[in-house]
């Protein structure tokens, strides 16, 4: 997956491994299948290994937080825009950058006759990113997940997980001290990233419906999907920036 596309930072944590096609007895996916692999190669120092997982947890946390925030921000924008347009021109506070960009994209999709070429370029760029993301998600849901834990390059555990949660775990005995917990944590993060990716996809779809009234001209959700995709990406960047600023001010 990461080898072909980096459409989303969470998808980039998973790899395609066609050479690892296996026969599995897992649930509805039994038979020959090509897994996507969550492969983490850790330091033998368990403390350093957990630090490696901390940064992944932060990334997943950002996606979960932006998934939580996005619906409220979209609803607030919709309320504000419909209220503003029905009232006399009154001074309103400026919109945050993700909302600003969303409105710009919604008001100039490529089907409109506009000379705002830079906006058209941005819309097409967002549409291309979304197309890649949806293709990746479609491939992602077609496979079970393979979560591997390596220590200094040596495989110590792997768990195969079907989409509905059938598990098959293989341990390399004897299990070194602390590795059981490390693999369990890596497994939980892999599953959290899977759930977060699905939620992001759902949000793009529901957000596209929600923002239909904001289109400059009547249209369908195929016109709003790229704009909402871009909004969700920008929201995550905004949260990452805020988090970075917070940690900088805490350390100074």
């Amino acid at each position: 997956m990461a080898s072909s596309s980096l459409s989303d930072p969470l998808l980039a944590l998973w790899l395609d491994h066609p050479e690892k096609a296996v026969t599995t007895a897992l649930g509805p996916e039994k038979g020959k299948s090509t897994p996507v692999v969550w492969q983490r190669d850790f330091s033998a120092d368990v403390k350093i290994a957990h630090n490696q997982l901390d940064s992944i947890q932060t990334l997943i946390g950002l996606t979960e937080k932006s998934n939580d925030l996005a619906p409220d921000r979209l609803r607030a924008l919709l309320t504000k825009q419909t209220t503003t347009s029905s009232q006399a021109a009154a001074p309103t506070p400026p919109l945050p950058p993700p909302e600003n960009e969303l409105l710009a994209l919604l008001q100039s999709p490529p089907e409109t006759a506009s000379f705002a070429w830079d906006i058209h370029y941005e819309w097409k760029q967002a549409a291309e990113e979304l197309r890649e993301f949806l293709q990746d998600v479609q491939r992602f849901v077609s496979y079970y997940a393979w979560i591997e834990t390596k220590i200094e390059g040596k495989l110590v555990a792997r768990t195969l997980v079907s989409w509905t949660g059938d598990f098959q775990t293989e341990w390399n005995f004897p299990i070194p001290s602390g590795i059981e917990r490390l693999h369990a944590r890596s497994l939980q993060l892999a599953l959290a990233s899977r759930t977060a990716l699905l939620r992001t996809t759902t949000l793009i779809l529901t957000g596209a419906i929600l923002t239909l009234p904001l289109l400059a001209h009547p249209g369908n959700i195929l016109l709003t999907l790229p704009a909402v995709w871009r909004f969700i990406q920008r929201l995550r960047q905004e949260l990452a920036q805020t988090q970075q600023n917070d940690s900088a001010s805490n350390t100074s």
Binding site: Q138, L205, I209
Partner: protein, 110 residues
């Protein structure tokens, strides 16, 4: 481009519908391999250690790891704990992922 969106979404919805339909049981299996004298590992030789099957109708079964000691069978508590940790993760994951899959399927059908 629009056709691409629709195709990807439709195919994802079909795949998800298939998963949800087949979610009547939850199977958790734990296996093991032993490192050989050269330090090599061959996961294709993994042997079963424990298996839990939980059915939607409430039935469940567990094949537990036992050890023969002094002619008596004993439950291997450490291995069972290792297996049970995965069972709990699987149960938690099943609840979350089914809810997400259904939510996604509904939004695709809107």
């Amino acid at each position: 481009m629009a056709v691409d969106f629709e195709t990807s979404l439709r195919e994802a919805a079909e795949t998800i519908a298939h998963y949800v339909k087949d979610a009547a049981t939850l199977t958790v299996e734990t296996r093991y391999v032993i490192v050989d004298d050269d330090g090599d590992i061959d996961f294709s030789q993994a042997k079963p250690l424990a298996q839990t099957v939980i059915k939607l109708d409430g039935d469940s079964s567990l094949v537990a790891p036992m050890r023969l000691r002094d002619g008596r069978l004993e439950l291997d508590a450490d291995l069972l704990r290792l297996h049970n940790a995965n069972v709990q993760t699987a149960i938690d994951y099943r609840a979350r992922i089914l809810s997400s899959l259904l939510e996604m399927m509904q939004s695709i059908e809107l």
